[in-house]
């Protein structure tokens, strides 16, 4: 720790950081544009200017950019010096000479970082009286809208898209004050991370087209914290809703999982929630619309008199799956996974459970010096992980940068100095994949070859002699990995190989025994595959063939409609399906129960690393639709959500801490709930006036400490309950950086979810 002086006051701070980030963490707000915690400092916008003094006698000081100044012991700076405040206001004035007065028609308005910074610097009166430069916009695909006139040339977009995310189809052209950020020609973005541009851009150049199609101002949206259900990474998101429609998805900061970024699948794949054609809005019994009472009675009858089998869903919550299992009995509950995959999944679970090898988080992998991927196409199966692996290749070369005192946050200098050096990333897979290009070496092998390859690595690490050419191939990799301080082994269920899974763990523990920080990460297929692995005891294959049940319940089936499944269902007497959207399977149901989607329900999902995370509803489901867990709870004693968590906690040892994942429904801050709506939310009294002129009573959320209104505390510090970013002076997603202060001080394990396996 060192001491620095800001406007005369001493502060104890950590070494190695830049002054801007240090000040943000201290709660001292210096305005900035081009700096980004994940992208580092480049010193382009000049907005983060502060005064630096040589010593106590230096009365004038000189203006420096805080994002580019490393903190040093005894450093003296001023943030509030008059001259530097005027300078910052002048920077805004400069930017405003070309920035159009689009606020009233700009999507970003209300959550715009530029707006916040203009207000923060105090610049108001525009002296510029000449014409502004304008640009033609490009068509960039169905997800991102382009409006170049608004650009303030902070270069964040190219730095994110090309440097950070490795995207190839985006760049900057032109010079002086005619810079253009776009593609070579019109067309959809190719990178699966392109959606992050809408959050990375501090103004309205890149905005969410899906939001635009049903636009609502940020302050009018109802938001709630949720978890992405598109893969097993478990990225944290925020849904935004109005008038019963989910309107957009935002990244929700989680240090260990997704950080500041999510992929486009999670960001743009929500319209199924709103799709009037495919949503099941009504339950049916034997083809006739049925109300809840009828549905429940029918179900009770079926279950009371008969043996009923049930297939859970790897995309549904732990609670819903657990309750279904309770309903039909453990011996009648089946995982929605075929035998071949189930074997692999169970193997993964037992390895993780055995505590013999460290289970890594995505953040751990991002920080690792060496990574080896065995038998997974990460860009397809867990994109956010691929993004993290891409960052990891910088880590070993960064050691060189440390030698010349070059801090990691000095983005362009590090990029230059490191050049094309990269840390050891090895990828062995059956198909060409995105990571090939940045790998040190990539191996195209078939499944059994990869198994042999992994075996050879284990053998070599155990000191066994190998045939000449295998030895050479493998020695190279091991030499590279053993020279690392930390190594991540990544594999998964993709190739359906138990061997690869087991050998991956072995490699990790052998490296660990050589004092190299090593760990494992297994990519599994779905958002709650791990939950399924823990709860279920048998694969649904057991239901095929002779043991076809008479009665079957399927929970939100996300199954490939194979012939095996089709013929199994065809021979059932009662097919009970609980689902939110029409599929081939729902068409076969004779009892169809309308469930709420992830946006209309609460629940816990367990991601690939065994992290339990809670999602909350952003809107109550419409009439006749009920969350799956609630349907099931009604058949089992009508417990509340929290009561169910307590049951799970005592029933299932591995899930003992499920009650700690988020505060329970009784949690209050100063006696108040946490609002899902901003204090500026408008239209409450008139929103439904066309249906009923009386002001509707806000729905009471009995299942969580969140409220469906603006009433509530403004002092929420639980990241897991964070519904929207709004702090005094910070209306945009940059408010997350304000949170960094809290995060560093309150590193609350709960905020990042609860790991089942801590090792």
């Amino acid at each position: 720790m060192i001491t620095i002086y800001i406007d005369g006051k001493p502060y104890q701070v950590e070494e190695g950081e830049n002054l801007l980030r240090t000040c943000i963490k201290l709660g001292i707000d210096i305005p900035y544009f081009c700096y980004h915690p994940a992208l580092g400092s480049v010193g382009a916008c000049r907005l983060c200017a502060v005064k630096r003094y040589r010593d106590a006698n230096d009365k004038n000081g000189r203006i420096v950019m805080s994002c580019m100044e490393p903190v040093s012991d005894g450093m003296m700076v001023s943030v509030n010096d008059e001259e530097v405040k005027n300078f910052r206001a002048a920077i805004i004035e400069s930017l405003m000479t070309n920035h159009p007065h689009d606020c009233p028609i700009c999507d970003e308005g209300g959550e715009c970082h530029l707006q916040d910074m203009v207000v923060k610097t105090g610049h108001t009166y525009r002296r510029f009286e000449f014409k502004k430069r304008t640009f033609k916009n490009q068509y960039l695909g169905p997800y991102i809208h382009h409006e170049m006139n608004r650009c303030i040339q902070c270069y964040r977009c190219v730095r994110f898209y090309t440097d950070y995310a490795g995207g190839k189809d985006f760049g900057v052209t032109g010079a002086h004050n005619k810079l253009y950020f776009g593609r070579f020609e019109d067309g959809p973005f190719e990178s699966i991370f392109s959606g992050n541009l809408v959050e990375v851009c501090p103004t309205g150049v890149f905005t969410d087209k899906t939001l635009r199609s049903h636009y609502t101002r940020k302050w009018d949206l109802t938001h709630a914290p949720s978890i992405c259900n598109q893969c097993s990474a478990g990225c944290n998101i925020i849904f935004g809703e109005r008038y019963g429609q989910v309107r957009r998805v935002l990244n929700r900061y989680n240090e260990a999982v997704n950080g500041f970024f999510i992929c486009d699948r999670g960001r743009f794949n929500y319209e199924y929630i709103n799709n009037k054609d495919t949503r099941i809005t009504q339950s049916y019994v034997l083809g006739n619309p049925a109300d809840s009472a009828t549905v429940l009675n029918t179900l009770r009858n079926v279950i009371a008199t008969n043996k009923v089998a049930a297939i859970g869903s790897s995309n549904s919550s732990v609670e819903a799956n657990y309750l279904l299992q309770q309903l039909v009995g453990k011996e009648n509950f089946y995982a929605d996974v075929v035998a071949e995959d189930w074997e692999v999944l169970k193997t993964i679970k037992s390895i993780l459970e055995s505590n013999t090898v460290k289970v890594l988080s995505i953040k751990d992998i991002e920080k690792a010096e060496g990574v080896i991927v065995l038998g997974e196409d990460i860009y397809q199966t867990s994109p956010r992980l691929a993004l993290a692996i891409r960052q990891s290749i910088r880590n070993k070369p960064l050691r060189k940068a440390q030698k010349i005192n070059l801090p990691a946050w000095h983005a362009n200098a590090v990029k230059t100095f490191i050049g094309h050096d990269r840390g050891p990333l090895f990828v062995a897979h059956t198909e060409a994949n995105w990571l090939d290009e940045i790998s040190e070496k990539t191996f195209r092998k078939n499944t059994s070859e990869i198994e042999q390859f992994a075996q050879a690595i284990v053998d070599h690490l155990e000191g066994k002699t190998l045939p000449q050419d295998t030895a050479q191939e493998v020695k190279y990799i091991i030499d590279a990995l053993t020279d690392c301080r930390s190594v991540a082994i990544v594999s998964g269920t993709c190739l359906k190989s138990k061997k690869i899974v087991e050998l991956s763990a072995k490699i990790a523990s052998l490296l660990q025994s050589r004092n190299i920080e090593s760990g494992i990460y297994y990519v599994v297929p779905k958002s709650n595959s791990m939950g399924m692995a823990i709860l279920a005891e048998q694969s649904m294959d057991k239901l095929f063939g002779s043991s076809t049940p008479e009665n079957i319940i399927l929970l939100e089936p996300d199954l490939v409609f194979t012939d095996a499944i089709k013929s199994m269902l065809a021979s059932c007497k009662n097919i009970i399906v609980l689902h939110h959207s029409r599929t081939a399977i729902t068409e076969m149901a004779n009892i169809l129960v309308a469930t709420g989607t992830i946006a209309e329900s609460e629940g816990t999902l367990i991601n690939a690393e065994g992290r339990m995370q809670r999602y909350f509803s952003v809107m109550p489901p419409q009439e006749n639709v009920v969350a799956a867990w609630k349907w099931l709870s009604s058949l089992l004693g009508n417990n509340t959500f929290d009561e169910i968590l307590i049951k799970i906690s005592s029933d299932i040892p591995l899930l003992r801490r499920i009650t700690e994942v988020a505060p329970d429904a009784s949690y209050r801050v100063n006696g108040m709930k946490i609002p899902r709506q901003t204090p500026r939310f408008s239209g409450r009294t008139s929103m439904l006036a066309h249906k009923n002129v009386h002001e509707p009573k806000p729905v009471d959320d009995k299942n969580s400490p969140l409220s469906f209104s603006m009433e509530g505390t403004q002092k929420n510090s639980e990241l897991g309950l964070m519904s929207f970013y709004l702090m005094p002076g910070w209306h945009s997603v940059q408010a997350t950086n304000k949170l960094l202060r809290e995060l560093d001080q309150v590193l609350n394990a709960r905020s990042a979810g609860i790991r089942i396996w801590n090792s």
């Binding site: 480049v42 000049r46 420096v64 400069s94 002086h176």
Partner: protein, 424 residues
Amino acid sequence: MERPLTQNIKADGTYCTIDEYRRNGGYEAARKAVQEMESQQITQTVKDANLLGRGGAGFNTGMKWSFVNISNPNEQRYVIANGDEMEPGTFKDRLLLEGDPHQLIEGMIIAAKALKASQGFIFVRWAYKKAHQTIQKALDEAYQAGFLGKNIFGSNFSFDLHLHTSVGRYICGEETALINSLEGKRANPRAKPPFPQISGLFGKPTIVNNVETYCNIPHIIKNGPVWYKALSRSSEGGTKLYGVSGRVKNPGLWELPLGVTVRELLFDYAGGMQEGYKFRGLLPGGASTDFLVEEHLDTPMDFASVAKAGSRLGTGTMIVLDDQTCPVAFVHNLIRFFANESCGWCTPCREGLPWVEKILEKIERGEGTEKDIDILRFHTKYLAPGNTFCALAPGAMEPLQSALKYFIDDFNRHIHEKKCPWKK
């Protein structure tokens, strides 16, 4: 008067071939440096000679070289000659490149030995087509004679030198932007630290020096720092190429002892103002320097003295403002140049310079107001060194701020008379 830099320049404009160059004692200094001197010794000699960088910054060249760590024999290091002379009013490097390219090459060989660099580039601007040819011819001659390539002078020192011709953009004259351009990129400058001596071309230790600077090196090595310092009238060593352009009788370029006065240059060498023109002021070192006026005529043209007079020696090529030229138009022309040449990286330069240009145009048109002068003054403080990412914008403000100081009456006339008093 000794004129080491221009002693081989021929009146007919052809370049000095390698044979002619060697006949005049050329490559002797390189031989001495490569065969007889240690790298550190060379650097110390150059430092002792107090050769200040001739590109405009005026930093002690030997000291600049000393920041390169030469201890790792396996590390790639580079020496680069900055021949991107594009500062308006500057035309000195062109003479050296067209007339005596071997002098530059020899200087770079010595520098490469001092810095244990195995590769070098001569970066020449697009427009100097004749220089491209002469340099390439000279490089071919030098390779053939064994002064470039492997095992120079039979030692284990090898050095490859290549010509790179640019494709425009004044900002390439900024050393870190030049390095980016050599890397095939957009020529945005880089943040310093880290300095090019630590992380330069392709992240390797690199020295970038002006062409004229390198041309001094062989003479320093051949004749020693004491001799070199004695050439000058000040403690800053050597001779300097000085130029004068504008409405003078005899515009041109002369090699003179460092420290001749403005008066000598303007009247003795440039012959004073043309008939019918009166002297009003001059920019002593190219477009990005402050005006000097009548009261400064006896200022010695060395780095320290010109700085004391409130300006910069810069490149040492003077642009003379006569009384028939509108000072507002003069400054407007300069600012238009700088605004167009901004790389676009940092806010104040990118947005500020076009605004200043538009205001100057407005004033020149006769539509200016007092408020406009305020905005101009504001920009001269706003675009100060440190506030911007590099020195382009602060340089642009130098002629403006001094024009507002010395010619404010002319600006006001435009505003009050609602026209340019110089327009017929």
